[in-house]
């Protein structure tokens, strides 16, 4: 019998479940390697060459090179692992969050100060505000 996965109708959200974790294992473990300063240096010196040391899919490598966090998440990345990439870039969680929402960092920060993204219209796919 199939597992109960009631979370696919939450808009703009990818739950890091068993399937995602299996798909993203090497991508996330690459991210983990950036916890060590010498690895960060090697990655920064030649990103493509460093990525080629990992058995990741081409799609995953291109997403990392483009810093396309939504594409990384779609191909199995988890945000706490992906955080090692934007930390390596000297960027904050707010920077990455703004990128993923397609907003400027200023607009995103203002939305948060104004109380954040509201639940109304954001709980179900297709929900009206």
């Amino acid at each position: 019998m199939a597992l109960d996965k009631p979370y696919f109708d939450v808009p703009g959200t990818t739950v890091f479940d068993a399937g995602q974790s299996r798909k993203g294992y090497h991508l996330n473990m690459f991210c983990m390697s950036l916890m060590k300063a010498p690895n960060r240096e090697r990655f920064k010196a030649n990103e493509r060459a460093y990525l080629d040391e990992w058995p990741m899919s081409e799609e995953q490598k291109l997403a990392v090179l483009a810093r396309d966090y939504n594409a990384m998440i779609a191909s199995g990345g988890n945000i706490y692992f992906l955080a090692k990439i934007f930390s390596t870039d000297g960027k904050s969680f707010q920077h990455a969050a703004a990128l993923m929402t397609g907003m400027s960092q200023e607009a995103y920060a203002k939305m948060m100060i104004d109380g954040g993204r509201p639940p109304e219209g954001n709980r179900y796919v297709g929900e009206k505000k």
């Binding site: 939450v10 479940d17 983990m32 966090y69 930390s87 954040g116 993204r117 509201p118």
Partner: protein
Amino acid sequence: MARITAGITTSHIPAVGAAIDLGKMWEPYWTPVFKGYEFSKQWMAANRPDVVFLVYNDHATAFSLDFIPTFAIGCAEDFAVADEGWGPRPVPAVQGHPDLAWHIAQSVIQSDFDLTIVNRMEVDHGLTVPLSLMFGQPQAWPCRVIPFAVNVVQYPPPSGNRCYQLGKAIRRAVESFDEDLNVQIWGTGGMSHQLQGPRAGFINKQFDQRFLDRLIEEPEALAQMPHIDYIRDAGSEGIELVMWLIMRGALDAKVKTIHRFYHVPASNTAVGHLILENAQ
């Protein structure tokens, strides 16, 4: 006999740690957050525990995808502060309480909760930010700490009810320890927040306030809330709130609220903070 004297919940937002470490606490953006902890620091000075049993989650720091323990208890003498990619936080190392930790591990496993025992572990902002919020910036932390890491990164985390029942087992374990120790239990993380995807920045004040009410008044019913409700209504990372139920399970059914604080935002997140004591 050791006893649990208070339960505390607090968010553990990394940007809060950075604000403390960089001396930005009283800048206009951060002032409302830290004001909410002023009472707590005074209360803590008068109610200093011997040991804090600190429930938190690791954020791909000590645990990668190689090992994913659902519940991990730190039994070491001490725990180093992790380098999370921008150097370790400038805070003291954490002194453990191996005798009590091992006692709790043995007792709780025999109560059907299969903990992972950890003898070497670095601790990240999930554990150190709550310590900074409650104790400020001392040269050494004023008490021992037992780190208790819960998986909330890999779905599914443990259920709310599993966490609540585990809290009860931890209380029984603490109360069967012979030494006379004042133990506090802290549940950290939350409140509503989402850090990923196009819905990032999601905040639900109504959910959060209701969660605080129910955690205080009807934790047993709250513990039945399914994961999907956390994800949908509190954001994908808001699911960390299940950890607060471990704290709550270790207290009596009736509690009194010593302090309650809520603020939006700190970076991407809603901050929630409670100090609870048993009503009797």
